[in-house]
Amino acid sequence: MRVVIYSDVLDLAKELIGLANELNAETELILAGMEPDNVVGVDRITLYRGISPEDQELVLEALKQAEADLYLLSNDRRGRELVGLLAHSKGGASIVDATSVKVEGDRVIAERMTLGGKGVAVEEAKMPAVISVMAGKYKPPEEGKSPEIIEKEAPSIERRVELVDKKEKPKVGVPLDKADVVIAVGRGFKKKEDLKMAYELAEILGGVVGATRPLAADLKWMPEEVWIGISGVRIRPKLLIVIGASGQQQFSAGIMDSKVVVAINNDEKAPIFEVSDYGIVADLYEAVPKLIEKLKR
């Protein structure tokens, strides 16, 4: 069986190599505009130094030219964008958000979260198939075969998408999906200034602050990058403290991988208590300052 791996993030590509090794596949890694630093465990690396990762049309063409039974991509936005395009042009199946991937004969079987986190679907397809795999599910191999490296020229195709401008988004400190402690704030906060309580709590616990969708998207109190949920960031901290958020499904699905969840909410019927380890029914304006005070002691 042949596997082709692509990601615009080298660390994510390495995780996919870990998966390919579990599948005992003959593996080729395709890289666009980046160097294969410390890559082991693949048979071959095809380097396209002339393609930059933002050049979706050229990356897609390079992937189309690579023959494989299974294409593994990272589940970041660039990766997900390619899955449907590549699968359709190969006449194959497509799966995104995969949390596990297995191969049985000529079929691939993957698990993924569905129905806003209320279901885990087991999906099966005859290969060829294109699958994007969630980050953090497979470990990069520490040792393995040293790859043969082949360099290729960018394919020549008619261009229809042209990059005009690219701006880096402002960094918000430790990315939410990598933080050990997250304080998630919701609509229970009455005004933006009150969020400083949450920031203070985060600072004491060495964590970062994230928000529910209404706070980030509708009220614009916080940048879109800290919006937790199925269409935002999915987090997996050791400790999550949810303050003043009712626990809408699309939010709750984004916190499922957290180790310990604490909820502070004044509504004892709020669905957030159903997905929490420890619940505190209290006015956040009383509970949070008191909690800060106790932690400072």
Binding site: H88, L115, E124, E225
Partner: protein, 258 residues
């Protein structure tokens, strides 16, 4: 501009009941609603039409069977989009989501896009029930058109679009040659709430209803859907606030997380 807007009939996951003990998921019983982000695509189509003129057609392929309830819900979603300002709609019903994957859906939808001679397809980046975002990409591939996902703004410039899009670490501005397929994010706009008069008028706009005709084989099979077992303690700590917080801190220390 001749725009096709793809609207998904999404399960309302907030209302969906599941039973973790028996792994039963009450899909039939759950209501459906228009995909929330698809409504942003509807709104964007109306705004583009207001700026540069043209026509906008809704295409809905319902994949939740053809029961009376599902049809009624779908017609309601279509009416809402027409009231927001779309001109007409094509409603394809009778497909079963367990047998119709994005490969088949894209084939069916692309055929309709060709039929109405659209030169722009708009869709949401995903819908609440599945959130794969695969369909617009596949429609683009089927049509042989360029595809840009995660749009936060769209400007028309002659036979091109200037699309701003949001990735994890970057914001990109790209120039896309029409015809094209674009998927939008929720940040792109705020869908309008139609006025009563517009809702009344929407009832008179043409809706072409067609039965799904199975010509293509799905590539993907859903073998099972289970209810994830998230083991949470669900302990509500009671007592006066001081006591409660002390107990909480004690528990968190025992868990080794502070």
């Amino acid at each position: 501009m001749n725009i096709a807007v793809l609207l998904k009939q999404s399960i309302d996951v907030q209302e969906l009941m599941v039973d973790p003990d028996s792994d039963k998921i009450y899909l039939e019983e759950a209501p459906t609603k228009p995909g929330e982000i698809d409504l942003n695509a509807v709104e964007e189509a109306v705004r583009i039409k207001e700026k540069v003129g043209g026509k906008a057609t809704l295409i809905m392929l319902s994949t939740w069977g053809s029961s009376g309830k599902r049809k009624r819900e779908a017609r309601e979603a279509i009416k809402r989009s027409l009231a927001m300002g779309l001109d007409d709609a094509i409603f394809i019903f009778g497909a079963d989501g367990r047998e119709v994957d994005t490969y088949v859906s894209a084939k069916v939808i692309a055929e309709k896009v060709r039929e109405i001679e659209a030169n722009l397809v708009l869709a949401g980046e995903g819908s609440e029930d599945n959130f794969t975002g695969l369909l617009p990409a596949r429609v683009a591939a089927e049509l042989g058109w360029p595809y840009v996902a995660y749009a936060t703004s769209i400007e028309v410039e002659g036979d091109h679009l200037i699309v701003t899009r949001s990735l994890e670490d970057y914001e990109e501005k790209v120039k896309v040659k029409l015809p094209a397929v674009i998927s939008v994010t929720q940040e792109i706009n705020k869908p309008r709430i139609p006025k009563l008069m517009e809702i009344v008028k929407a009832g008179k706009k043409p809706v072409k209803e067609e039965e799904f005709n199975k010509k293509h084989e799905s590539k993907l099979k859903i073998k099972s859907i289970k209810v994830p077992k998230v083991e949470r303690k669900k302990v509500v700590i009671e007592g006066d606030l001081d006591e409660v917080l002390d107990k909480l801190l004690q528990a968190l220390k025992e868990e080794g997380v502070i």
